[in-house]
Subunit: 120 residues, 10 copies
């Protein structure tokens, strides 16, 4: 299973400026929890850092940990969003997961992190 | 004919967040009601789930049921929008149908679902 | 010359919803009124239907009628916009004409129809 | 040198409507004033005509006149914008110049014409 | 190390107009401070000049000075933004750095310059 | 099931010349005999006509007849090759079937027709 | 109807060398003899000149003459090949016609000219 | 580890013809034996069947078995070639593996199977 | 007019090997001798050097000299081929000129140089 | 300067088969010996291994050593070919260097290694 403690950070080199950081991982793969078949996705992490930036190699290892984990598209995208939000406490954060063709479908899930989630 | 009862759902794994789910089906085909000739489309279902998400395999079967049905572009796009809206009761829903070349034309129909439709 | 009476319509199957219909004709051709040389364009008709939708085959025949007509880019785009507006009385209508390379230029004319045109 | 008097116009065929005209010239070339080396650009003229439209062949000749003129990217884009604005007195006008690779750089200059320029 | 004093400027030829200048350098390369491996980026400088424009050849030399410098993605993008802002005092300035694939990731950092940075 | 008797022909207009005719059908669809799921292919018929050419509309109807037929990739490509060879008796004939993504695979089957098949 | 007498020629400037000339016309259009619907093609003329080269503007007018002519794909490609062969008497000549999408098909006809056709 | 016994076959439906079968798997992934990092490849199996064809789903499972196996590019491509050759005894067989970007490199390994390997 | 004396050479650094050198110039422009309109081409020089290689900057200046010269497609391609052959005396030489769109046509002229031309 | 002793090898895992190995490095950069400006290339090494294969990481370091070396296109391509030939003693070897745009030119140098070079 994935483990957010893998995520390492370093101090934001320009904390006085709201600037956009966007890391796109082209090699995400996990398993379908129903069939066990592999799924493939491109995952973009787009955020405005506050005190900490995510270290890129640790982000790669964090994603690699999903390799043999069963993961539904909707659930895993939200989980990544939650875990990165908790680890980085960014000023803003969006996670976009683009899932490759599966049964004639491509899928994109887009989740935005908010420090205090609105209730419904 | 298509049958919305084919559509299966599962509980939204992140109901506390408004996030975007987008499934694009690249293999939709139906028949022209006038000529009987096959039509081909790419159909995108973009929605914000409330309590339920649509299960992807059931969505595929729902689309496959149009294979031998006569369907006008405008009518079938609205029908898919209505039936998905009724089945999912989402917070928001848009259906986009991109019809492949027919007589020198390509066509795109875009319909948005609203819980309580405005009257005119 | 073109003849808007060629345009056939059918009743809007979802009049209770404002949805977008977009037909793109990839095979429009007319003649330059000055040189007699053929011009080629891709023409997109994007509209929100009110009571009537345009029937696609009749739209094709309407466009084919320009084949041997002399037509300036700016004038013919506005004429198509006017004639479709009059025939369909849509809730909204935009016509985009993309003219292929002519003397090192490509051109795009975009006209929007309004039921009651503003005076200047 | 370029000569705006080359620019010919014809009466706007639809003066009662604000519609967009966009001409893109793919074959602009001038000379670097410092090195004498040729530069190449694609230039887009996007405008809303008032009383007059620019005649396309005269626009081509107007651009060809830059072929052996020394021209800095920033200056020539503004000059084209000024001269077209003066010649057409349009309701709106934007000129976009996309300069091809030069020393590992591509450049784009975008200038908007205003009847009465704001002072600073 | 990079040296902003390399940056040469020339007087804005159209100071009475707010127009957009965009220079994209396709050949930026620096070194990873941790591994010493080369990194490659495309860097876009998008600004509205006030009194001075940056001279393109000097911008090229300024970028070349990073060739053997260790540079973290986030830090170097902000440094370029700061140094160009100081050198040009533009009306507006954005720097976008698109880093080529590294370990399965592509990255984009986007920083906007402000004369008086807001404090937090 | 498919029916080669649908295929209509017309006399080769240039029988004195060996020239190449290539028709590519972008809308072939059949069913997987095991799962019943639809498959999609692009099928190219490349031949040198002898006495007869295949009429294009009849070729379309011949392909449409596979719409609800179960068909393995390898078998159906050879069947099309055999039936076209028998119907046209061409000087040469190749059939290429490019099957769209299925379970992470794309497939291409290429069969060549020979009047007198070699024995093994 | 097309008229090969439109074709003008000029003396081959390098008759001592076998070199390849290839003109591709992107704007060929004719009519389907059965339905009257327009067809569109890209036509490539590839030849080794002997004493004469074809003048490009006359080739354009020769192609334009097909605009309102009924023309089957196979017949018209061979006719162009024959008429160009007769007009140019080239050392070698190939005509390739790529017909745009019609009923889900694209087609390519390739004919090669030979001074003395082989009999069968 | 991979297991060639996963490979299922079915009788060649057209054994009297030498025809080409090409299956391209877009989702191959294995691990670098040195670093443990995942590698990704597109693998094409191109063969002329003799008595048996490979069943596509079993080929997929055969490839999936490499997911957590350490595999050097050169060795694994030859291993796949050997195991498919042994399982299918085809008339001809080529395996092409296109490895995605790793450290600034892409790699392609192409191996051809021969019933009786030549000695050196 | 062009002047082959502009062409500078340097000694082939690997005269013991037949290796291929290919320079593609993307910015060739000349004038149509009939209309005076500019033409644009991409010109590829592909050769096997014998004693001398062409110096790239001099090749650029050689091409720039055509900027205001009238030049027919067929003639200028052969002239470049002849002048480069004479200047370099290569083991082999091919010149390919790809002319941009002119009147709906693109053109490619391909000429091969031979030390001793064959007579006819 | 480059140093072929950086090149590490490992034993060919399939020495009984002639198979093709192709490594493409997308991040080669060196300096122009005349101007000191950086050049960029994509370099492909295509070989049939005999006893040894080149280890990919060492090939990367070998290429990185050119980063601050002055290198003419023709000379450096032949040098890479020679040094790899000497290090690997392959059954066959081709090196292709594709140099990015420099002064309006792109260049490709292709050199083939031969154990015993032919004399002239």
């Amino acid at each position: 299973m994935s483990d957010p403690k893998i995520l390492a950070t370093f101090p934001n080199p320009a904390p006085g400026r709201d600037y956009l950081i966007e890391h796109t991982h082209h090699e995400f793969t996990s398993l379908c929890p129903l069939t066990g078949h592999p799924d493939f996705a491109t995952i973009t992490v787009r955020y405005v850092a506050d005190k900490q930036c995510v270290e890129l190699k640790s982000l790669k290892l964090y994603f690699h940990a999903y390799r043999n984990a069963g993961a539904f598209f909707e659930a895993v995208t939200n989980q990544i969003c939650d875990e990165l939000g908790t680890a980085l406490r960014p000023r803003a954060l969006t996670v976009v997961a683009d899932w490759k063709a599966r049964g004639g479908f491509t899928s994109r899930i887009t989740a935005e992190w908010q420090p205090a989630r609105r209730k419904r």
